[in-house]
């Protein structure tokens, strides 16, 4: 089976129609036991100190896994991907460019997906069939989301993990479906969590996965993971076709479109405060200027760099932030 690396969520339906295995390089990087060696590898090959750990990790993971073909998202995701892809090309890796067009118009999105369909030599009917099948799996991930914020039974980390994995369905969608079904059964049998504070997590998924457990130890819980939720296409059933589905996907488009959904979810999920994660050296950190002003509940910006665990200073900041929030919540409640 052809293994195709991806730099973020792309229309998986097309690749699966072409009988390819999708490998999300982000997941390969962050789940690698030796994740920091992958960063070092990239730096040794010339990636500057001042580029983010994700980009370097993606590079390292691609080389380390001997991936020969990559769908690179050139527009809408990360402005560094373009240069990354050029380095890949130089190393003989075949690139299929894909873009989430900046102006988010249906005909533009259609053009991009059709281009991908052509590159992988598949037809739209098969793609649509796959879409329905994948949406069944995405609905299961969506179920875990509901188990998080409605039933309070899924943890923040589970919410993160099972939704984010929808970018490549853990490389095997059939197996992933069974895994989700089993997980849902297990979660349903639990006693609900009872932490006092309800938090939203927005921004790129964290390098520091221990964030979830840490906030849970401080009487708070993350009940909304913005980008991870988008990876699982929560509004998939209202799309008539693949083009509409990928048009109604907030993450790669502009911040205002994202904010609309974020604000809705803050309300729906009775969220007390927001953690906005940004990556060191990521251009998206600039968006914090807008985000912190647009959201009317407290927003804490935390930054991750190369480590996959929270540093002492970030822990202290989280603690002080949650401590004061919990005072306030005590008053309100």
């Amino acid at each position: 089976m052809r293994r195709i690396g991806v730099t973020t969520t792309i229309p998986s339906e097309v690749l699966l129609s072409a009988n390819c295995e999708i490998v999300d390089l982000n997941n390969e990087f962050i789940t690698n036991e030796n994740y920091s060696a992958l960063i070092d590898m990239a730096e040794k090959d010339g990636f500057p100190k001042s580029s983010c750990a994700w980009i370097k990790g993606i590079y390292g993971a691609c080389i380390d896994n001997h991936i020969k073909e990559v769908v690179g998202v050139m527009e809408g995701d990360c402005s560094n991907t373009k240069a990354l892809v050029e380095v890949f090309q130089q190393r003989g890796i075949k690139i299929y460019p894909f873009s989430y067009p900046t102006d988010r118009k249906l005909n533009m999105v259609k053009k991009e997906i059709d281009k991908l369909i052509k590159l992988f030599q598949v037809d739209i009917d098969t793609v649509e069939k796959y879409r329905l099948r994948l949406n069944g799996i995405r609905a299961l991930a969506n179920n875990i989301d509901k188990l998080t914020y409605i039933d309070n039974k899924a943890s923040g980390f589970e919410n993160h993990l099972y939704q984010i994995s929808c970018s490549d369905f853990n490389k095997d969608h059939k197996k992933y479906k069974t895994e989700l079904e089993n997980k849902i059964k297990e979660i349903k049998h639990r006693e609900p969590f009872n932490q006092k504070l309800r938090l939203a997590y927005i921004g790129v998924p964290p390098m520091t996965g221990d964030l979830y457990d840490y906030v849970e130890s401080l009487d708070a819980r993350i009940v909304y993971n913005e980008v991870q939720r988008e990876f699982a296409f929560p509004r998939a059933d209202s799309a008539n076709n693949i083009y509409e589905q990928y048009l109604d996907y907030t993450y790669p488009y502009d911040v205002w479109f994202r904010l609309k959904v974020i604000k809705e979810q803050i309300k729906n999920r009775s969220i007390d405060a927001v953690i906005h994660y940004t990556q060191a050296f990521c251009h998206k950190a600039i968006e914090h200027i807008i985000i912190s002003k647009e959201i009317d509940i407290p927003v804490l910006n935390i930054e991750g760099d190369k480590s996959n665990v929270l540093d002492a200073r970030t822990k202290l900041r989280l603690e002080a932030f949650l401590d004061m929030l919990s005072d306030m919540k005590g008053v309100r409640g």
Partner: protein, 256 residues
């Protein structure tokens, strides 16, 4: 209802009492004297002799500060020091967005507050070169009072050392060179400012509130005024932590 707040600092213990949202009593006692003369010890617990500090009839009591963790005051609810200072500033100013700079005897805190909640902070409690103790030592070397030294800000003589101890010998060297006293004082004040500055770098808000002993230093304020639209020294700059404890008790603590 009487609310008692105690801030156990490294050099001094600050006490405040609040009634009907007003601070009605304040007292400052040196830390050594506090433990020696105002406390009893009971099975490893510290019992404060409340009569001696004239605060016997309180309804709620909250403590904070350096001694908070290793001195478990009976009957007091301990709260985090950063939080205590932020509550103090919220009470004293009613602002919801600001930077609070607290330069104490042995530590410095810079806290960014947005929507009345701490969202960022920088702490320096590892080195004495950027806190009040440094000013005291340098004033001693110059044989001048702290208040007098704090007045001078023009043409500061350059003190390059990053270490409090080395700065002392550097200063003595400058005295030996025959440099004018005013410039020496300004040099000390400016060196403190320069060391604090990196902590504030990230916090580019327009309003800076100051508390702690070193906020009496006029030169430091002068220097900071160049960086911020507005610099305000909290009226009760010494008692901010203790007042914050009272405010916390007032807003959030259930009756004992």
């Amino acid at each position: 209802m009487k609310l008692l707040g105690i801030d156990l600092g490294s050099r001094a213990v600050k006490i405040a009492v609040m009634q009907n949202s007003e601070i009605i009593y304040k007292e400052i006692i040196s830390t050594i004297s506090f433990y020696k003369n105002y406390c009893k010890y009971n099975n490893g617990k510290i019992v404060v002799d409340l009569k001696k500090i004239k605060c016997a009839d309180f309804d709620k009591a909250v403590s904070t500060g350096y001694g908070r963790n290793n001195t478990d005051l009976e009957e007091f609810k301990p709260i985090n020091e950063i939080k205590a200072h932020v509550y103090g500033a919220l009470y004293q100013t009613n602002l919801s967005d600001f930077i609070l700079l607290d330069v104490g005897g042995q530590d410095v805190k810079a806290v960014k507050v947005e929507k009345k909640i701490v969202i960022d902070l920088e702490l320096n409690d590892k080195c004495a070169a950027s806190c009040g103790r440094y000013l005291e030592n340098m004033a001693n070397v110059l044989e001048i009072s702290l208040d007098e030294m704090g007045k001078y800000y023009e043409e500061p003589v350059r003190l390059n050392s990053t270490c409090a101890v080395f700065s002392e010998s550097e200063l003595i060297g400058k005295i030996a060179e025959g440099i004018d006293m005013k410039r020496l004082c300004a040099g000390v004040n400016y060196s403190l400012y320069k060391r604090i500055l990196p902590m504030l770098k990230k916090f580019n808000d327009s309003v800076l509130l100051m508390s702690g002993g070193a906020s009496n230093n006029q030169a430091l304020i002068k220097y900071l005024q160049k960086d911020y639209e507005k610099v305000t020294v909290l009226q009760e700059n010494q008692f901010n932590g203790a007042i914050g404890c009272c405010y916390y008790a007032h807003k959030f603590l259930k009756e004992r």
